[in-house]
Amino acid sequence: MANSLMASGIVAQRLNAEELASNFSDLHPAYAPHEAAVAADRCYFCYDAPCTTACPTDIDIPMFIREIQTGNPEAAARTILEQNILGGMCARVCPTETLCEEVCVRETSEGKPVEIGRLQRFATDTLMAAGVHPFERAALTGKRVAVVGAGPAGLACAHRLAMLGHEVVIHEAKPKAGGLNNFGIAAYKSTDNFADREIEWLLQIGGITIETGKALGPDLSLDHLTSGFDAVFLSIGLAGVNALRLQGEDMKGMRDAVDFIEELRSSSDLSTLPVGRNVVVIGGGMTAVDAAVQSKLLGAENVTIAYRRGRDAMPASGFEQDLAAAKGVKLMFNVMPVALKGDGAVSAVELEYTSVIDGKVTGTGETIELPADQVFKAIGQTLRGAPDGLSLDGGKITVNEVGRTSKDMVWAGGDCASGGDDLTVTAVAEGRDAAMDIHAQLTS
């Protein structure tokens, strides 16, 4: 029995199965071979290409596009995967509009970059569909490395280490590997169970064991790992969330956006997933956009993103803002929540208009009240469960450019480590680079 869009409260089945399937289909559908050929032909094969410089994993983009052009997507995939073993996921989730495609000279000349992300997907999908894993392990070194956290940073690090001949054990707190690839990334970016398929494909290298349900913490200490392994790589992401610090934050209907997204990504039947009629998302990053857009796609009638600064300062890219707007999400700028209304369950959010003076957000005194039966908090994640004894920097584990922490033989990378944007591709780059440094240390 379907509920209508207008049903009040947090209810499931606002849309029928067909509408849901269409709403959550691929955001950027895969290229057919001819489309890929046409898109690849637009690449100028730039000298010292700006796109490669902009890619956190330094993929030789002109080269892989040329390989597609010449009818060899498998070689293109190899070029990509040599630098970025999660090139398939990155092709789907990278905010290319602020990375490689932003600096494409075609963007300069025509305002329309070569579609690097979709070409990358074409190449990697082709190789993966052929069931080929293009890398082999080097002679075994007999060294063992512990990785903590099976998100993109941990997986990239593990793959590189395994390839170099080391034995890797990944300790993952959750029952399933993948990190935010499985529980964070918007559903329409990673369709058809791609995250799991990619992990299965990645593990074909051999030499990697994933132990799920193993959390670093009281039952598994860092000392235990450093004594049992030759090196440790920490990639535990950001497991904590920031609070609004307003009264009523525990009312029914108040929720962390990342929880909602995790539930959505874990759901095998989206029609059973309840969502509010009037949804307000507090925040301005990718998480806020994803929570808002997916609420809308589930059938919420009114979805508003309330961001406390102006549009230019919004961490979500212009592309994502447009995506949200196109899906019918209302974007409000220069507003901050000052009160949550409701009796047991939230019913409205009071927002105060702001102005930004010398970088500081200050209320103007003017307020507006939005009806809300569901409020998602997306105001940032924080490091939680970092082992004692490691120095921190701005709430993250301090690392140098190759991922070394303050502790000997302990490396860290991805969202939990200092430096770099919190992006999948950055996590992959940091995992890979730490692996190279671990390898150098273990074999010197």
Partner: protein, 434 residues
């Protein structure tokens, strides 16, 4: 609007765009539709001698090479002359000519290289009231193995002999279609002229293999695992064809001999270029086979627009205008000095000019902070490579140096007077030293 009327050897057509002898002109159905679409004339698909017609392969006839987005740049074929009975073709030609008296209709002919064969077919062709004939001495495959086509076109004596027979047994214009599969096109052209030809047309197709199948190791098009060289045509052959047209136009012996230009003509601009090099009209095959008959409308509108802009009222106003500017290398002005200049506002910073000059030319482009590309005049030899590889039209230009300036590369002052290789001090055969 400019008057595009063409008078080629006294043969009138409403425009200078004819369809070349090939599949587009192989039968009445096609030719009627071509005329309805606006083509000024056709050279009917080549007729063979009376008797059982030739047979074509029953597998693929074409191979191709592509540019970006599968744009067809070159086509190759192993088709023979018409495979329909002579009588059928002649009846159709007569009917079409009667219905379209204002259009040019030329019969293309290829029969064995003996006088009797030519003597037999020419009166039959004359009966159709065709405006003239074109002798197909060009077909590089199949027919040449039987002593016809390019096998005749490669021997100037044969060309002259056959042309003479045709002039003897046929009283309308005779056009000799030349093969490009020779070393110097002036020899066959002179032979045609000596035989009495009213005009030459060129080029026919170029012997070629377009691709090899890397699974079966057969050349394409593949007939049951084997391939034969075919005839190459389409945009890729245009530069070769234009040079041959120019060679004939400026040769002392053939200068003034009317030329029908063929080879890769795809747009009005291609046509205008051939005509500037001395072609009185042009013939088109591959472009029509790629895009259909309608392209002639673009050719008509484009040529008229350009003529209007230039103030030309008739096509004779510009035919041959480029011929005096085609010269030998030895007469090029060695005192002319240019330098590449990059327009920083137009530059999109792809760096292709840098890669080209740095890796393969004269290391004359600097890559500066912020991907700024600048030409170092002290090294630039003005080769033009950067201009050719730059994806932005007009971004890099060749700027001539002013008289009196010093070329920082050579340290020499640019002088006004013209001086070429014939008088250059480095030339061991220098003629101007005394």
């Amino acid at each position: 609007m400019a008057d595009l009327t063409s008078d080629f050897l006294g043969i009138k057509s409403p425009n200078p765009f004819w369809l070349a002898s090939a599949p587009p002109t192989d039968k009445e159905y096609n030719v009627r539709r071509a005329f309805e679409a606006g083509w000024g004339g056709v050279v009917w698909k080549t007729l063979g001698a009376e008797g059982p017609p030739v047979v074509n392969v029953n597998g693929p006839r074409y191979g191709a090479i592509y540019g970006a987005d599968r744009r067809l740049l070159g086509l190759n074929n192993i088709e023979l002359i018409t495979d329909r009975p002579l009588e059928t073709n002649l009846e159709e030609m007569a009917r079409v000519k009667a219905d379209y008296p204002d259009r040019a209709l030329i019969a293309s002919i290829m029969v064995p290289c003996d006088e009797a064969s030519w003597k037999a077919i020419l009166p039959r062709v004359a009966e159709t009231n065709a405006d003239g004939i074109e002798l197909n001495f060009g077909c590089p495959h199949g027919m040449s193995e039987r002593g016809m086509g390019a096998a005749v076109g490669q021997v100037p004596e044969y060309i002259e002999m056959v042309t003479r027979w045709c002039k003897q047994y046929y009283d309308r214009p005779v056009i000799v279609k030349l093969t490009p599969n020779i070393t110097d096109v002036r020899y066959p052209a002179r032979a045609a002229k000596n035989g009495g030809a009213d005009a030459v047309s060129l080029i026919n197709t170029i012997s070629s293999i377009t691709s090899v199948n890397l699974d079966s190791f057969s050349p394409e098009p593949s007939i049951d695992g084997k391939g034969s060289h075919g005839g190459y045509c389409g945009p890729a052959v245009k530069p070769i064809a234009m040079n041959m047209v120019a060679e004939i136009a400026r040769d002392a012996e053939t200068h003034g001999l009317p030329i029908s230009g063929i080879g890769g003509i795809t747009t009005w601009r291609d046509a205008a270029e051939f005509m500037a090099l001395g072609a009185g009209n042009v013939q088109v095959c591959t472009a029509a086979m790629t895009y259909g008959f309608r392209i002639v409308q673009e050719m008509i509108s484009g040529l008229s627009q350009w003529m209007d802009e230039k103030g030309y009222t008739s096509i004779d106003d510009f035919v041959g205008m480029a011929v005096p500017n085609v010269t030998d290398w030895q007469y090029l002005n060695l005192n002319y000095v240019a330098k590449a200049k990059i327009d920083q506002d137009a530059c999109i910073k792809c760096g292709r000019c840098y890669a080209a000059c740095e890796d393969t030319s004269h290391q004359a482009i600097w890559m500066k902070e912020g991907r700024v590309f600048e030409v170092n005049d002290a090294e630039c030899v003005a080769c033009n490579l950067c201009v050719e590889v730059c994806p932005v039209e007009g971004c890099i230009s060749m700027e001539p140096m002013e008289i009196g300036q010093t070329d920082p590369r050579t340290g020499r002052v640019v002088v006004e007077e013209y001086a070429n290789w014939t008088s250059h001090p480095n030339n061991p055969m220098s003629r101007a030293a005394e």
